[in-house]
């Protein structure tokens, strides 16, 4: 059923969910939000976060833009696209069914 492995699948889901709540976040902010909201339990590795962001960008789910920061440096901020919103719905329901299934197995085994 799930094409990607659970970890990667859940990273996409988390990023999409975060971007659906707060638009225009840069990579570090996304990483920090994942850590904060999960109570430091979940941590996205830098080495996998950026490839995931680029992949989703190429898939058309998110869109990126360069903005000037106060420090004078540029940052690349991401936001959700219409296709991304749709994908988020699919990912959420997939996650729900997977976690339900896992819970059922844990209960009955």
């Amino acid at each position: 059923m799930a094409k990607t492995d659970a970890l990667q699948g859940s990273l996409d889901l988390l990023v999409l969910k975060i971007l659906s709540r707060r638009q225009r976040l840069h990579g570090y902010a996304i990483m920090a939000t994942i850590a904060d909201t999960s109570g430091e339990v979940l941590r996205a590795e830098e080495g996998s976060l950026y490839p995931a962001l680029y992949r989703m960008e190429e898939a058309g789910w998110i869109r990126a833009e360069w903005v000037k920061k106060d420090t004078g440096r540029r940052a690349r901020v991401y936001e959700l696209t219409a296709a991304g919103k749709k994908q988020l719905g699919a990912e959420e329901s997939r996650w729900q069914s997977v976690s339900l299934a896992i819970n059922r197995v844990l209960r009955e085994a």
Binding site: H26, E46, E57, E58
Partner: protein
């Protein structure tokens, strides 16, 4: 979007990397600002390079990126060898450009469908029969009553359309003084609706306009004529137009693209068929008959029954025609009735130009294709040499894991670059050369006109040609490169003979093609030379010809008086009159009966001439005398020697008599002239007789003349300089004579050889190019081969091999290839010569000089091309070579 972003990212690969790097850096900055340890933050990315690469590969199309890398690499390779690249591009551009130009001409003349609806359903009817000289011929003309019978017979299955030749006709728009020429066509009125043509202005002809002599005389002009003659003046509608003493009213302008059905001639004026006086005559064949199938009909099953039906109807019409064969012997009638009706596709129009130039353009297409092939072989050889020079690099690439397909792609991309550059350059060449060659077709006063648009047909051809060139160029070197065995190459050289074997094969092919081009070219050039060197037997210099008409006709005395006035004009040496000029378009034959016998099967051609004609044309009278002013026709005649041999073999012709058909008045032969080609330089000599210009009827009263040519011998070599004043001299007489056309005997003579001059010129040009390319190719291959074998040569010299042996090993196999190629080229040449035999004049493929010229030319070129390489081989310094090893 992502697809395009991946493609565009492939183009800007470097910038993409720096962007990714910037983003990662900004991440680390944020992390440090949030209080993380700088080193830890940096380490969190793991291998920085790896992250970069993974990120990069996600964001670009890798395949495309490597193609771009190959293009850049290929470009650098070409740029490094600027001279070779320029030579390659130029020779390919010439080849591609010539091929495209030849295609444009062939397509425009022979293939491009007429701009009408249902061009694919259009056919033309003609009849095959045995001609008067016993040769098979095809007669494409029909009489209008015959056409009408046939049209009615098949009207439920197909439509027949009558269209005459587009004759260059004298017309006047206002008064008689401003007479001009226009191409006038008589058409049956159903042509316009059947071809789906819509008027650009006014209306087109309808069937009511074509009901016979009683119809109102309406005319339609073509858009092209309206545009260039009237500047698209809308007031053209209703203007009167005078042709042959009749007045027509312009009622409309045809559609923009339609220029008639005679490919190569732009029709100016369309007139209703039935308003031509020939349209009522049963026995006069003067119009073409087109057949248009109904839409949706299958030609394969319909045409043959239609043909048989038409054939039967037409045969019955002619057999019953009482006026058609009056006074003709039964044998001739049988010959004329025994013909086969044929139906040919006519979607591209029909014209004499097509017949005359089909083979010529075919031969031209062959020549340019061969030149392109020779150029391709050259460039392919060059690339093979370059690839061999890079054998070590290739081997290294393969051994560290480059795919062989990547190597093939590298070479194909390089040849694509060359082909692309050459095509771009060739497009300019084709854009210029196709109209240029077209302008050399036909005489300047009546040029061939063809639409030569650069549309999708041409672009498609050019593109297909480019692909073909890429494959021809790249395939061999690519296969070779991909077959590199790394171990052997890295050990210090593969089998040193293999690339040379390939290149030697290429030399043989190149020589074969080159010999074929030379062979055909020498045939074309000698044809032209022989035609030009054909003894004329008359003068063509300083002769101005005023082709003059008289609407209602004038008595011979008026014509003679006018000649007297012309004779008195300044700059005029002498003047004579002929019914029609030598080598002109008009030829009329006549039956010959000797002493009341039935006409002989061979007709003779005649020409009315005034006294002085023979002296002005410098035609000697070999026996008897010239005409005198009091001689009349019928009465006296001067004949040529073939006439004597045909009708009075082994007799003294002077004083003998003949008639022009049974029960015709008697003509007495008063003089004999030598044979001359009077109508066509290519035709064999034929019986010819001249009659006095003063013609009389049965009651010995003078007959009026409505057409004749004043032949004026001028003092200046540029006889056309007098044309204007002499034309005025005739106009001022106000005796009804009007100059219809001005030309010179020299121009008529030149028009005769237009086609031969054109093909000889083009063939000679391509022969030189082919020879040059083949020479360069051989030079390059030999030079390369000597360079590659310098080790071997050095060793041989060091152990005392005599120089002659060195020369032998360098050149022997190459000369073997040249000999092989020459033979193959000759064999191909014999085959090709048969196809274009109709273009040759008294030249056979087996003539000694035809074989000798290409052989000598190729031999000399090859000797010149091998010389530098041999010299280089002999100058090899063994100590230097062996020290370098």
């Amino acid at each position: 979007m992502s697809f395009w972003s991946r493609i565009s990212n492939a183009v800007r690969g470097e910038r993409l990397n720096s962007e990714i790097e910037e983003e990662l850096q900004s991440h680390i900055d944020e992390a440090i600002a949030a209080g993380r340890d700088p080193n830890e933050a940096r380490r969190a990315f793991g291998s920085r390079l790896h992250t970069l690469e993974v990120s990069h590969s996600i964001r670009v199309s890798e395949w495309l990126e490597s193609v771009f890398a190959d293009v850049r690499f290929g470009w650098r390779q070409l740029w490094r060898n600027k001279v070779t690249t320029a030579a390659a591009v130029l020779s390919l551009a010439l080849g591609i450009g010539s091929c495209v130009a030849a295609f444009r001409l062939i397509d425009a003349l022979l293939w491009r469908p007429l701009p009408i609806s249902g061009a694919g359903r259009l056919y033309v009817l003609s009849r095959k029969l045995i001609g008067p000289e016993g040769r098979p011929m095809e007669d494409s003309y029909w009489s209008t009553p015959d056409f009408k019978v046939m049209r009615n017979a098949v009207k439920d299955r197909a439509d027949l359309v009558a269209i005459s030749d587009a004759d260059r006709t004298d017309i006047t728009w206002t008064t008689d003084d401003d007479m001009e020429k226009a191409h006038v066509v008589y058409v049956s009125a159903n042509m316009f609706p059947l071809f789906g043509l819509e008027p650009a202005l006014g209306r087109l002809l309808i069937s009511e306009d074509d009901q016979g002599p009683g119809s109102s005389p309406y005319a339609v002009i073509s858009w092209d004529y309206w545009n260039h003659r009237f500047g698209r003046d809308p007031k053209i509608i209703g203007r009167p137009l005078h042709i042959d003493g009749r007045t027509f009213e312009i009622i409309g302008v045809g559609p923009r693209d339609f220029t008639g059905t005679e490919t190569g001639t732009v029709t100016d004026i369309f007139l209703p068929l039935s308003l031509n006086s020939l349209a009522t005559q049963d026995g006069v064949s003067w119009q073409h008959t087109f057949l248009m199938l109904k839409p949706g009909v299958n030609p394969a099953t319909t045409l043959e029954p239609l043909r048989q039906h038409l054939s039967a109807v037409s045969h019955a019409f002619e057999a019953q025609c009482s006026t058609c064969f009056r006074g003709i012997p039964q044998a001739t009638i049988n010959r004329l009735l025994n013909k086969k009706l044929v139906v040919n596709p006519a979607g591209a129009g029909i014209s004499e130009l097509q017949k005359d130039y089909r083979r010529l353009l075919g031969a031209l297409g062959l020549l340019v294709a061969l030149v392109l092939l020779i150029a391709c072989v050259n460039v392919s050889n060059m690339m093979t040499a370059q690839a061999t020079a890079r054998a070590q690099e290739m081997a290294l690439r393969i051994s560290i894991g480059a795919g062989r397909s990547r190597l093939v792609r590298l070479i194909l991309i390089q040849s694509a670059l060359l082909a692309f550059l050459a095509s771009a350059l060739g497009a300019f060449f084709a854009a210029w050369s196709a109209p240029f060659v077209l302008s050399l077709v036909n005489s300047p006063e009546n040029p061939a006109r063809l639409a030569l648009p650069a549309d999708w047909r041409v672009l498609l051809f050019g593109f297909a040609l480019m692909i073909l060139v890429v494959l021809l160029l790249g395939l061999l070197p690519a296969l070779r490169a991909s077959a590199v065995r790394p171990v052997a190459a890295l050990k210090g050289g593969e089998d040193p003979h293999s690339p040379r074997r390939l290149m030697r094969g290429a030399i043989a092919i190149q020589v074969a093609f080159c010999v074929l081009v030379l062979f055909l070219s020498s045939m074309f050039v000698s044809s032209f030379k022989r035609l030009q060197d054909r003894p004329l037997g008359f003068s063509i210099n300083r002769l101005l010809l005023l082709e003059t008409v008289s609407g209602k006709g004038q008595l011979p005395i008026v014509w003679n008086q006018t000649a007297e006035v012309l004779r008195a004009a300044p700059g005029v040496n002498s003047v004579a009159i002929a019914g029609w000029p030598l080598l002109g378009r008009i030829q009329i034959n006549s039956d010959i009966s000797v002493v009341g016998a039935p006409p002989s099967p061979t007709p003779a051609y005649f020409r009315p001439v005034s006294p002085g004609f023979f002296s002005i044309m410098e035609i000697p009278i070999v026996s008897g005398r010239d005409f005198l002013p009091e001689d009349t026709s019928p009465g006296a005649a001067i004949v040529n020697e073939t006439f004597v041999n045909t009708y009075f073999p082994n007799q003294d012709p002077i004083g003998r008599t003949f008639e022009r058909g049974p029960n015709q008045p008697v003509n007495k032969i008063i003089g004999v002239t030598p044979d001359i080609p009077d109508h066509n330089l290519r035709e064999p000599l034929r019986p010819l007789f001249y009659v006095p210009f003063n013609e009389i009827d049965e009651k010995s009263a003078p007959k009026i003349v409505d057409l004749a040519t004043f032949i004026i011998h001028t003092e200046t070599p540029n006889s056309l300089a007098l044309a204007g004043t002499l034309r005025q001299v005739i106009a001022q007489r106000h005796n009804g004579l009007r100059v219809s056309n001005i030309t010179t005997e020299l121009d008529l003579y030149r028009d005769q050889t237009v086609r031969e001059r054109l093909i000889a010129m083009l063939a000679a040009f391509f022969a030189v190019v082919a020879l040059l390319l083949a020479g360069i190719g051989l030079y390059a291959v030999l030079n390369y081969s000597v360079l590659q074998r310098r080790r071997e040569i050095g060793i041989r010299m060091a152990i005392g091999s005599p120089r002659i042996n060195i020369v032998r090993i360098v050149t022997f196999d190459v000369f073997l290839m040249i000999a092989l190629g020459t033979c193959a080229g000759m064999v191909l040449g014999f085959g090709a010569a048969r196809y274009v035999a109709s273009l040759f004049y008294q030249v056979k493929a087996t003539d000694a000089e035809i074989i000798a010229i290409p052989a000598v030319a190729i031999l000399v070129t090859m000797l010149v091309a091998t010389f530098p390489a041999v010299l280089r081989a002999l100058q090899t310094d063994p100590t230097k070579i062996l020290r370098a090893e």
